[in-house]
Homo-oligomer: 578 residues x 2
């Protein structure tokens, strides 16, 4: 009978679990404590952002951490609710149910389950590479736009008004309309909290270090800033009776363990949620893997993307079974976990225990917590995601990438997260196809006195009226093969004395069947006009494939190892000149 | 005031019209006569295939020829109804109206107009390259499947039964069910006509040459085979009263000039026809351009694809205004035109005059023409389109291309022409993206005694435990950039003594913004582990672009002209070994 180890050969927990000792235990416990303190306000805030009761954020921060610890390959990734995925959850379910209703929560649970199932399937089928089609420009544009959307959506809570909108413009318009109804006490407190949190981020650590704390201790203390803001505003609201003056509070957060829940088995609902779930899966996976890879590399460890899909799938399904909503590996909390010295995923398990204790014991203390404080936490967190410098950088580096960023940004802001993401991916693939379908094809000539060939338009080179040398700077495939036909046709029509065409193939990594047909067409048309086709510098793998084709057997010209050898043979007078 | 010539600088007719003389006139007249004789049965047959009255085929063979002569860049292309486009027309309109009804005809006119408008727009916007996304495997699979579909659809006429089906399987099933009701006289005559036409194709020309005719004359006479078949079967039907015995005849074909017609200005209809019109445009354009290019090359002439779009657009719109249906440049008739010695598009104008005369004078003679004879003409014409050897060739050459052919073939047969084409394009693009997203990345080492570097897995080469050399055989873009990150991460984790990573960039034609971010991530992760990143053999255009980036300014390692120089600098002991 096979042993458990043989059955589960790739379970990462078996790897680190075996060498677990007292040292790693104490490191993990300290890291877990710090992350727990940081996660409590974040979890509540992101649940509200997703349109869910605050306690759901705590539920979503327990089981996923444990399942990630079993299946995940990163030693330090902290899984739970994150800003962008919460926004996407709100966008997906907002159109199907009223925020805050039991049905809304049931849909969020189902969404997490479908998303988890998709991640799991993608992992088992090793489809992790699909996430690569989210290009950096698309992700950057999407994350920045999401940050702006989230910040705008939190302004209403900070202002103490009601304002809804399906896109950035509608949101801003609704906020401007509501401006006269601003609840000034809420706004003052919210802005103070925001300013304090910004200061904590930038100014507290240097101050603490000037007071004599070590950089590590100062860093950890600075991370506790949000907890201080929560304690302070909750205390003030309770002491000064701000609730009676109209400041909205979190209210009763039920005490207790995460509930056992099931997704809704409703085919129509699953169809409705399939596309959002896929988008959430891919965005969550990309965010999680890039955080994981960055942190793993710092310790010369590695993560396995396809196993990460399995781990995130298990995490999301566990979230669905314990009353949670879609989760993924978060950037900020993972960095904190790493900096605090977490050695193994056991730190995640201890964090889960911490959050469980909090949801058992701490929730009554959150009754007077103003909602505006949580909004302030969110605003400060998401504004760090907004990075519009990508527009400037891509404009300078490559216009196609700029177009992809700008399109994603504008469509996400104007038409919402789902359309923004889909449009971004479509546009970036279309631009890539456009680029490769217009290959750079240069007529080259011999640099006098050397064996090098260069573009005749840019350099002083020797050519012969009888020989045309063309260099193609792209792999040949269906979308660009005919471009080569056009170039050769034009060249032949404009070179009346032509006897030889040489294709320098040094940059051709592949030739597909369409391109082979095009080469055959070029060859037979050239032959019909009494011109021979030659190849030079064909790469090994390309040559391997061509070797079995009619094309090479019936080629009117030769195949030369180097372009120089081709010219030596076909136009020796060119080589003689200097 | 600008002259007419300045206003119409690119009108090809001004080019060849100016040098027109008596020699070209007589060549063109002879070619026109031969093509006219060939076109009459073809036009009638393809109109029936498209579900239209036979005279519509004649109408569609007049104005388009004239408009192509004015706008087209090929000297010999013959434009008119063709098999595949007629099938696509039937597929597009068959679901909207009953074949043979006036509404069906009105929809076909509208389809030709929309398709013409799209071609014209694509030409003006210079979007001809979009047609390149129809890869050779997709076209081959599509054309073969269309040939089979058309042949199957004609069997019912040959058998003298009624049978309908939306796909190949349904058609074959319906034919088998109807087999007991076969009209044996029709079938015998139809099969005889088919056999005769096949023999005319293969056996008549050699026979005529044995009888002493020159190859050219034999060829021309052999092309008149279909006319002989028509004359014979029409005569027999009239003389022996086959109509009374149940042989279906063409019946009254109205005499007269093509009517003036207008498309239907109905937005809902246009929306319905938009996708079919686009597919018809692209398929027609691809067929037309490949015929045109092949024939132009034989005389060292050239065609201008974007101008061809304009010409085909004008041809289709003229077809719509004169009672016709979608047309394009046909393979068989253009080859006949070329072989018969056509020198200029004026031959097309003379052909148009010939067809007009035929539709004015000849139609009463077609009354007793059996429909089965026209079906025999179609079957013989389309079976030459079916070429399943592409399956074998692509299987041997490249599996991805094989998958594209097979998918297109099966979906076209099973689900129809439109879905077949769309699926084929989608699959071939997806396969291309898949291929480029999995780049070949090889660890390379120095071939002892040379300056060449080769894959360590295939060759006996020298390497150093301190230096890792990687060669990427693909341009770096968003879909494969992370694959490089993975490879580097894995390599670093498995090489404990590593101090340098060298990327040999000789095959990298482009680096997009995502790949640049990945390179930056790789660089900073390597730096964090105390490893320097170096580049070698970076191409000129790639270097131009990198030069302005932070990446190159902050690179921990160097940029070397050759991989050998890099290894000389970083691991001189490797170079010393032999």
């Amino acid at each position: 009978m096979p042993s458990l180890k043989q059955l589960l050969p790739s379970l990462p927990v078996l790897d680190w679990g075996r060498s677990y000792n007292r040292d790693t235990l104490s490191s993990d416990l300290i890291a877990a404590l710090i992350v727990t303190v940081m996660l409590i306000p974040q979890s509540l805030a992101y649940a509200l952002l997703a349109g869910l009761p605050p306690e759901v954020g705590l539920y979503a921060s327990v089981a996923p951490l444990i399942f990630y610890a079993i299946f995940g390959t990163s030693r330090v990734l902290a899984v739970g609710p994150v800003a962008v995925v919460s926004l996407m959850t709100a966008a997906a379910i907002g159109q199907l149910a009223a925020a805050g209703s039991p049905q809304y929560w049931a849909f969020a649970i189902t969404l997490a389950f479908i998303s988890g199932l998709m991640l799991l399937l993608m992992g088992v089928l090793r489809l992790g590479f699909l996430a690569n089609f989210l290009s950096h420009p698309v992700i950057s544009g999407f994350i920045s736009a999401s940050g702006l959307l989230i910040a705008a959506s939190q302004l209403k809570t900070l202002m103490g008004v009601k304002a809804e909108g399906h896109n950035f413009i509608e949101l801003v318009k609704a906020l401007l309309e509501q401006a006269p109804h601003t609840h000034w006490l809420t706004l003052s407190m919210g802005l103070s909290a925001t300013a304090f949190l910004f200061w904590v981020r930038k100014g507290l650590k240097p101050l603490l270090m000037r007071w004599g704390l070590g950089p590590k201790a100062a860093d950890v203390l600075a991370k506790a800033g949000p907890v201080a803001a929560i304690a302070l505003t909750t205390g003030l609201t309770w002491a000064l009776g701000w609730q009676a003056q109209g400041v909205k509070i979190v209210g009763t957060v039920p005490q207790g363990l995460p509930p056992l829940t099931l997704p809704q088995w409703d085919l129509a609902l699953w169809k409705e949620l399939a596309v959002p779930a896929l988008l959430i899966s891919v965005v969550g996976f990309v965010e999680s893997v890039s955080v994981g890879q960055t942190l793993a590399a710092k310790r010369r460890q590695r993560i396995e993307p396809d196993q990460e899909l399995v781990a995130l799938g298990a995490s999301n399904m566990s979230a669905a079974l314990t009353g949670g909503f879609p989760v993924t590996g978060g950037f900020a909390r993972s960095v904190v976990n790493f900096d605090a010295g977490a050695q193994t995923p056991a730190a995640g398990v201890f964090t889960a225990v911490g959050i469980t204790l909090a949801s058992l014991l701490l929730t009554p203390a959150l009754y007077y917590l103003p909602q505006a404080t949580l909004s302030a936490t969110i605003v400060v967190a998401v504004l760090s995601l907004v990075d519009l410098s990508i527009l400037q950088r891509t404009w300078r580096y490559a216009k196609t990438d700029f177009v992809a960023v700008l399109t994603t940004l504008l469509v996400t802001l104007g038409l919402g997260v789902e359309l923004g993401l889909v449009t971004g991916v479509t546009v970036s693939i279309a631009l890539f196809l456009y680029k490769t379908s217009h290959p750079h094809i240069a007529e080259v000539g011999l640099v006098p006195g050397t064996e090098y060939f260069r573009n005749v338009k840019r350099h002083q080179v020797n050519t012969s009226p009888r020989v045309l040398s063309l260099r193609v700077d792209e792999s040949l495939y269906f979308a660009n093969a005919r471009a080569l036909e056009d170039v050769v046709n034009d060249a032949v029509a404009s070179h009346p004395d032509l006897l030889h065409v040489v294709l320098q193939c040094s940059a051709i990594n592949d030739i597909d069947a369409s391109a082979l047909e095009s080469l055959e067409a070029i060859e037979s048309r050239l032959r019909a006009s009494g011109i021979a086709l030659h190849l030079s510098e064909v790469k090994g793998p390309v040559m391997d494939r061509l070797q079995h084709t009619h094309f090479l057997h019936h080629l009117s010209g030769g195949v030369y190892l180097t372009q120089f050898q081709a010219i030596q043979a076909l136009a020796p007078e060119t080589v003689g000149l200097t």
